[in-house]
């Protein structure tokens, strides 16, 4: 499951960044996201109402809304270009969002406006997908076991919380961005934005609980610049 999980994260990173073949061109912004303060405890998720999901997890599953690691690193932070790359081309690859073991994989899915999104149900039970969109049109649909994927896309940039009403602990995000340049931090808090043409950019880091931070970075040619973010964590 872990392998599958990382492969999906990689896939998302791939489709949201430029294709590997074009790696050479442009500059890179990389860095690390850490926190100060006290993050909330990761709490175990009680899935007992859905035995078929309990059976899929050898070890207890914990909440993913504030995953932190060694050296105060923060996982699941979306780092993206919020200004400076207007007019960049949109990706057409399909972003996959899976429901497996009564969890969303990935926890946070990044996609571009109008980029195809496929929601899949791999579980032997029925889920409902309920993106709590405010700017885009909200929807709420069941996906019985074995049902075909739901194909959709979003019209407006928005951070959309996703929940499953049938399994209230299931919680994730659709992050819909205009930019093709985005990255999600890994378990070490590291991110990398590649293939940036020369220019002045605003880089923004967003975390569902620890808030948003931005900084300006200027890229001149194919250089690598570092941008670190320190978010503030509160226990409750």
């Amino acid at each position: 499951m872990i392998a599958r999980f990382t492969s999906v994260v990689a896939l998302v990173a791939m489709v949201s960044g430029p294709a590997p073949g074009h790696r050479a061109a442009g500059g890179t912004i990389s860095g690390k996201v850490t926190y100060t303060g006290t993050p909330p405890k990761a709490r175990p998720i009680d899935m007992s109402k859905e035995p078929s999901c309990v059976a899929q997890h050898a070890t207890p599953v914990t909440t993913q809304d504030a995953v932190t690691g060694a050296g105060n690193s923060v996982d699941y932070v979306v780092v993206y270009i919020s200004a400076g790359d207007e007019g960049a081309a949109a990706a057409t690859d399909t972003v996959r969002y899976e429901q497996k073991g009564c969890q969303y994989i990935p926890h946070v899915a990044v996609m571009q406006v109008h980029q195809p999104l496929a929601v899949l149900n791999d579980d032997p039970t029925s889920h409902n997908i309920h993106p709590l969109a405010k700017v885009n049109a909200e929807w709420n649909k069941s996906q019985p076991k074995g049902a075909p994927p739901i194909h959709t896309a979003w019209d407006q940039p928005e951070f959309i919380a996703v929940k499953c009403n049938v399994h209230p602990w299931m919680h994730g995000y659709f992050v819909v961005l205009k930019t093709p340049h985005s990255s999600i931090t890994d378990s070490t808090g590291a991110f990398k934005l590649e293939g940036l043409p020369a220019g002045k950019y605003t880089v923004t880091a967003w975390h569902e609980r620890f808030g948003t931070q931005s900084q300006e970075v200027t890229i001149a040619g194919s250089e690598t610049k570092t941008a670190n973010f320190v978010l503030t964590a509160r226990p409750y």
């Binding site: 409902n128 309920h130 709590l132 069941s142 019985p144 074995g146 075909p148 929940k163």
Partner: protein, 564 residues
Amino acid sequence: MFSVDHKVIGRQYLDLALVAVFTGMVLSWLMRFHLGWPDTPIPGLGKIAPGGAAGGVMTPEYYLALMTMHGTIMVFFVLTTAPFAGFGNFLLPIQVGAEDMAFPRINMMSFWVTLVAFLVLVAAFFVGDQPPLSGWTAYAPLSAVGKDAGPGQGWGQTLWAISIGIFCIAQLLGSLNFIATTLDLRTRGMSLARMPMATWAWFITAVIALVAFAVLMPACILLILDRVAGTSFFIPGGLVISDQLQPHTGGSPLLWQHLFWFFGHPEVYVAILPGFGIVSQILPVFARKPLLGPKVFIACLAAIAFLSYTVWGHHMFLSGMNPFSATLFSVPTLVITIPAAIVTLLWIGTIYGARLRFTSASLFALGFVSVFVSGGISGFFLAQPSTDIYLHGTYFVVAHFHFVMGVAAMFGIFAGTYFWFPKMFGRMMSETLGKWHFWLTFIGVYCIFMPMHYLGLAGNVRRYSAFTDDYLQPLIPLHRFITIAALVTGAAQLIFLYNLIRSRLRGPQAPDNPWEATTLEWSTSSPPPHDNFGGRRPVVTQGPNEYAVAGPGGRDYIMQAESR
């Protein structure tokens, strides 16, 4: 088309009910199939409902939408329109010897308004995001808060409330006509004591309906306002739905339940009392003897009508209302079984010593007695708060109300159809097909609904689109048996449909009085002329029950409008 003739309007109501009942039946087929085989695609359904049943396997919300539509269509547009508005419209004026209803134009409006209500309800299937799924009882706040509460809580639910509100207006107009006609337009000699049993039943039903729909209508208005105008009649404060704090304060969900059931329980009698009347009129005709205790029968109807307003709380024993009131509501609920039991015994007593003739009409009337007993008896369990603790919300309830107000009322409708079809269309129906229809239906409904009692005793919860709970797994074979029975019994209704259409087109010519009956409709031609009696109003000299007597011409009956 826009006729003010009560006979045309009655047939229009019956046609509407026919469309509605087959719609409702197909919905129940889909539901039953899904319950038996939840993962098997239903051929073609994916094309009809790509959103609700992608690939032919329905989503849970689509199942609930089918269930809601099935309940709403059956209760309002079949069980109210057919036995009450349909047959009542066609027959009540003739049976009292009137030329038409008291207010023919209002009568016409009542049908067209009903049709509008039906179209609005059907529109809820297609307009907006999803059809409504709050059940036919539409409990607030699920039905009142709007889109946050999930699929089916958008436009579909609003249209549902609008449709029911419109339907209330239609039935108020209809009931007004029934009451005024019965009170004021009886022909000479037609005293209240000489009114046929069916007329009495329609009259008393109209009184019940007038009060019941007058309460549901404002309830629907309040529900619509909660949905579209942001009021909080039924929505309390501090609700968090799908992580959204709702902007309402102070409303009362129980208020909706009180208003709804104040209507809802009398509505059950709106559905079943016309059946009482139809059976009480048909049984003597085919038993060739008078109904046992006609005055007792009428007194029982009146008692049921009165009591029907005092029992609504038995739907709410476990709703969170004051537990003391549960006992209070339980008593009249149990007491109402006394008049119902008396009526049943009167029918059985009428058969005693009879010379029973078996026609499709009389078989369905006899079948009515059987299924009404089966449905009524299970009421004992649900009328007591103590046993309701276990059985409430299970298939036991589904079995109870389907037998007592669904199947029994349908048997009344079938009996009435086979009985009055010759009068309505001037042609006879096929008795052979009618009897096949009866036997398949009679055995079929017991195969469908009797096992639901067992499911209920095993704790099988109703309104579930699939049975995922561990303890429900052993019950799935029983569900499959019910599904097969439902498919077969439903298919038997196609015999009825074929018989209706074929007989209407080329059934043999009907005589004026094919069943040797006494009431006024059999004194006029088949079908009756526009003014019912060809310019001469009949003068009534007899009661409706003059069977087993020495009549003119060696007949064993005397018609109401002939002298002894």
